[in-house]
Symmetry: C2
């Protein structure tokens, strides 16, 4: 399967022109030629079957053969807000794995104990796109720019809201409180966890405290555990 | 918490001598001194509270204050046999994450489509040990040397045996077949998956085919997903 990510494709169009970089990859690297089949995903649920009409190395023209909308659409919507890890590779790893397992939106939150205050969303998005193609996802997860934790809490969310923290206090196992086929927003703190103030602020915004099991997990592992649990409980 | 991995500690001993490397780390790096508290894990379930008796930078002497055996012992035993990934870093992060989440034994199996035929177990074990300390696990997962797939199948396993493959055929969702608080052995194939012959060989050895959901997962993600699911279903 030769898959191209084409977010700009117009649904209903009979043709598509690969850009210069993708044309070169298609013709020079993959050595595809006229009549070969390729697949396109638009990141919004569209999965296209296409065929090479003109094998131009800079402006390859494709005939669109068929399109499937809402390709492998999941029955729920998962939004994880996570503090960028000090070592950015750990966040990159989470984004790749969460994309494979299934996630819709990721927000980067800067918390009181965050050692990293910024993250390059363009670079992180390329990692997500490559995971989207590798795992053949028609939906491209949305990655939001890093914002301060309190600004994030000030946003409005519909659906179920959870905060996973390591401080003491009563917490539910997500399997006992999650309503299937819903919308979810889950907060994951930085190395060193949320502060008591940050936890209180989340609770006052109706985020329900949850536990992700008894193991002590790194930030990126906790975020992936949450992603796994939500997908598993929605199977 | 200052945690040291001391697999050679004799249960019942009143003292322990940190080796030269750990003594240096304890006294020169952490700058601990006489009377300071440290913790020891033996990798076999023993969690020790200790106190520095002699802050010698090459041969630190510890008083053992108390010991907890079977510290956070899990109610099940998970053995995952996975083909080493072409990019060894992917296997390394699986080992780190599986250790955090909970795993007992990992075997490296060389399959027909394995691009990597070997792996340095000593180096991989150091990654496991560091995850053991970071996540405060008293049990150190066992990592076995890489062996050919058919040799691995020839071994005897008690408990439930599963194979996760991507080929067609009837597969159970692990949640519908896993018996809680049991022993499990799960086979995860290489990039490109097991061959039909390898799958048939596993089935003839009573490995039950399972699915890990509808997403197309990389080798290391599939192995971690299996680890997630077994731990989750045993909560």
């Amino acid at each position: 399967m030769h898959l191209f990510y084409t977010p700009d494709i117009a649904s209903g169009s009979a043709h598509y022109f690969l850009n210069e970089e993708e044309s070169k990859h298609c013709i020079r690297v993959l050595r595809l030629t006229v009549g070969d089949n390729v697949q396109l995903i638009d990141g919004k649920g569209g999965f296209y079957a296409a065929r090479i009409k003109d094998a131009h190395p800079k402006r390859t023209i494709l005939d669109i053969i068929s399109v499937t909308q809402e390709y492998q659409k999941r029955n729920h919507h998962l939004h994880i807000a996570v503090a960028p890890t000090k070592n950015i590779e750990r966040l990159e790893w989470f984004l790749e794995k969460a994309t494979e397992i299934g996630i819709d939106e990721v927000s980067l939150i800067i918390c009181h104990r965050s050692e990293r205050k910024e993250a390059r969303v363009d670079r992180l998005n390329r990692i997500i796109t490559s995971a989207v193609k590798q795992s053949i996802k028609a939906y491209h997860p949305v990655l939001n720019e890093a914002i301060p934790y309190d600004k994030f809490l000030a946003r409005n969310f519909d659906g179920q809201k959870f905060i996973a923290h390591c401080a003491d206090g009563e917490k539910a196992d997500i399997s006992s409180v999650l309503q299937p086929a819903g919308k979810y927003c889950i907060l994951i703190g930085p190395e060193g966890d949320f502060t008591e103030t940050e936890i209180a602020a989340a609770l006052s915004c109706d985020f329900k405290p949850i536990t992700l099991g008894t193991s002590r997990l790194r930030t990126e592992t906790a975020a992936l555990e949450a992603c796994f649990e939500v997908n598993f409980l929605n199977r």
